[in-house]
Amino acid sequence: ADKQLRIGTLAPKNSLYHRQLMELGEAWRAAQGGNAKYLVYPDGSQGGEAELARRMRIGQLQGALLSVVGLREIEPSIAALQTMPLLFKNWEEVDYVREKIRPAMEKKFLDKGFVVLAWGDAGWVRFFSKEAAFRPDDYKKMKFFSWGSEAEQQAIMKSLGYTPVPLETNDILPAIQTGMINVVPSTPYFALASQIYNSAPNMLDVNWAPIVGALVITRKAWDDMTPEVQKAVRLASDKVSVQIRSKARQEVDEAVDAMKKRGLVVNRPTPEQMREWDELAIKLYPRIRGTMVPAETFDEVMLHLKNYRAGKGK
């Protein structure tokens, strides 16, 4: 049969991510030659993030563009980049730590049978709520959307007095309209695209956690390529990685501006309130260490971050 490369993603058709994946495919096809067939399945048409990981494992798909929600189905320690709240203050810190842990992380993925082609991100998670809220305690009387698959996270939230309501992504909008949930942690880009901000028009201006993702392909598909093809794919992936990161960050700012024009209220906490948030995060870390994030990776990330901040003289 002709060579095939089949890639799945939740990203919408014709979005930035989809276009970048198509460009990568052109590079692969040119290098591969012949009747090589490149297929991208956008819009989650091959299933959600966990399902995409499964379809790669059985060999139906050769690759997927995933966020940490899907990547952790392959290698749990990746959660360190996305599930530790208020750990990263800005993209520079995320980039620095990611570059530091990248060789070891890519090795772990390789051992699990996957090659990481490109890293990307999709903005910061912020809290969108029905009522205005500024302090951690303001959220205790509210009900949070949480992914049904993230059991440890729900246990941690419950133990701190918060109320997670496990749902699927498609249930968010009706659930917030009917009052089953009143807070949705979401990136501004997703809040705009899904219209969540219409029903939850208060955004807390705190960068809770970054959404980090990667394009992975199976080791089998990678080993099937000749060294020349591998080189061409690497080259194209590096370009894709840069494009996705710079443009995605720009789209996040544009999303907030667009929502503000249509009635979004941005709530900025005072320094006093911000301190309460940091205190909450510090209380959370020991609970996350060893449950949601393996202890070893957790300590490593903390160390890199300390070094980075020391190097900047802070």
Binding site: R6, A53, I58, G148, A151, S159, P166, E168, N170, P174
Partner: protein
Amino acid sequence: MLTNIRSRLHSLWRFDEVLSSSALLLMTIIPLLEILLRPLLGKGIDNAPVLVQHLGLVLAMFGAVAAERNGHLTSLGSSLDNVGNKRFHTADQVFAKGSAAIICGILALASWRFVASEMEAAHDLAYGIPVWWIQATMPLGFLLLGTKLAARSFSSIVSKVAWGIALPACGFLLAAEFDGSAIMLWPAVLWLIAVLFAGAPIFAVLGGFALALFWQDGLPLASIPLSHYQITVNPSLPALPLFTLAGLIFARTGAAQRLGAVFVALFGGGVTGTVVAAAILCSFFTAFTGGSGVTILALGGLLLPLLRNAGFPEQRSISLVTSASALGVLLAPSVPLIMYAIIARVPINSMFLAGLIPAFVMVAFLLIFGGYLKRGGLETTGNVQAAHFDAGKAWAAIWTAKWEILAPFVAIGSLVSGLATPTESAALTAAYAILTQTFAHRELSLKVFAGSLSDCAQIIGGVMLILGMALGLTNFLVDAGIPDAAIEWVQSVIPNKFVFLLVLSIFLLAAGALMEIYAAIVVLVPLLLPVALSYGIDPIHFGIIFLAAMEMGFLCPPAGMNIYFASAMFGKPIRYVAASVLPALFAIFLGTLAIAWLPVIATGLPDFFAGKSPW
């Protein structure tokens, strides 16, 4: 001594019923515990929603195995049963069930490959149980199904054992050898068509088609069990067995009689009152029983004498009960309504709200255009009473039936108010049915309850198996880019939205006549929904059109279930019943067109609740 051993063997043989019923019972209890524990903060059941979803897989696999024994696996129908002699009939059965057994063997291998890939990345579900333990029920279930299907058509113990092992093993080894290499499609398709008409279970034929399609491209066969697994662990899916359980319990207690009394009291005893009452009652009851024909069995014996007493002719009475029993599909919490929401990925509560007004529009169309309100042709010899309304009698009937009347409010209210997730709302409704019928009416014995659990597991097990296999088929269509191609083709042929809706309604009438409703939903919705969206049709609106059209399918041979149920229930030939429902079919078609052309009938209510202006 011997009988003792035999009865023990007998109960061992029924471990599938015990397992699937226990899974269903846990699926009812766990969400209720979560509702109670949620306000108390702290710990509830570990990973409760995902645990309940995985219980759904256990329920599906073992429920289907039990359904095989009791002959509850859906097949195309006994179309060849009347043809030829006994020897031909036996050969037909051996061919159909033997082929299904081979397919089950292939599915067992494919599921095992899937489970093996999951073991490489093992996760815990809850309480230290690895997810793959639950997933392993798939290869196990398919092997059991294959063995039982193969053994079923032989009479001697030796040939039962021999064929029961040989046929599934044959499929298993064949797939182990050739998985991943491309095979020819056409021989497989011809074989499967023969298997379908010979009367093999639908799930085996759908699974066979999915296998053949993936196989011809050399794609991994494990794709099909993966799709099956993903649907059984869908967060909304537990609502299916739970609402069905509630419906079965109401159907097996005196609930039907009590509701019948209310509607007759409210609409008076005259012809028109009785007709209107019968139509609404049938719809109402079908909402809970899911249009599986149970309504005709539960209400037919009650309504036919009532209509006859009011002077309504026999054929029109049978026609009314048969056709009105098809209508509740649009009324919450019907199973097809939930199923559409799952497949189309729209919120269940929006679908519930959207179906409410169309359900009554359909009743109105049926009564008016079906000619049931015509005064001509009434039998004056009948015991016609003057139509008058007795408030005291009505109130007494309502009071007696108060628990049943409140049931839809429990189901829809808990969901629309945001108090419960779809699964929790369904568990609440099931518990409500169990508790009211046990304690308020004292009509639900332990034996009836256990029977309801087991029957529910068998019905849903059979449905979920069809659903899973059909989704494997759908996944191939997505994989091959067929929905995109369909959009392009349809748009080039039909430029206008209104013409598209007309063509759609006619196409769905034909599809409904040929396909069982659940198979139609899972196979056709993923294909047609993107096309409808490309014409700017709202997915909720499309779902209501689709289900309205499927109501016609209940009345159209060869797959029109209601005709067969009515024929059996009223002891009339199929041709007599089929002819009697022709005016109803016409009326429902007009109703479908009205709903299709006036979107506000469907979208008005959900938009109102979402705070959007419908205009």
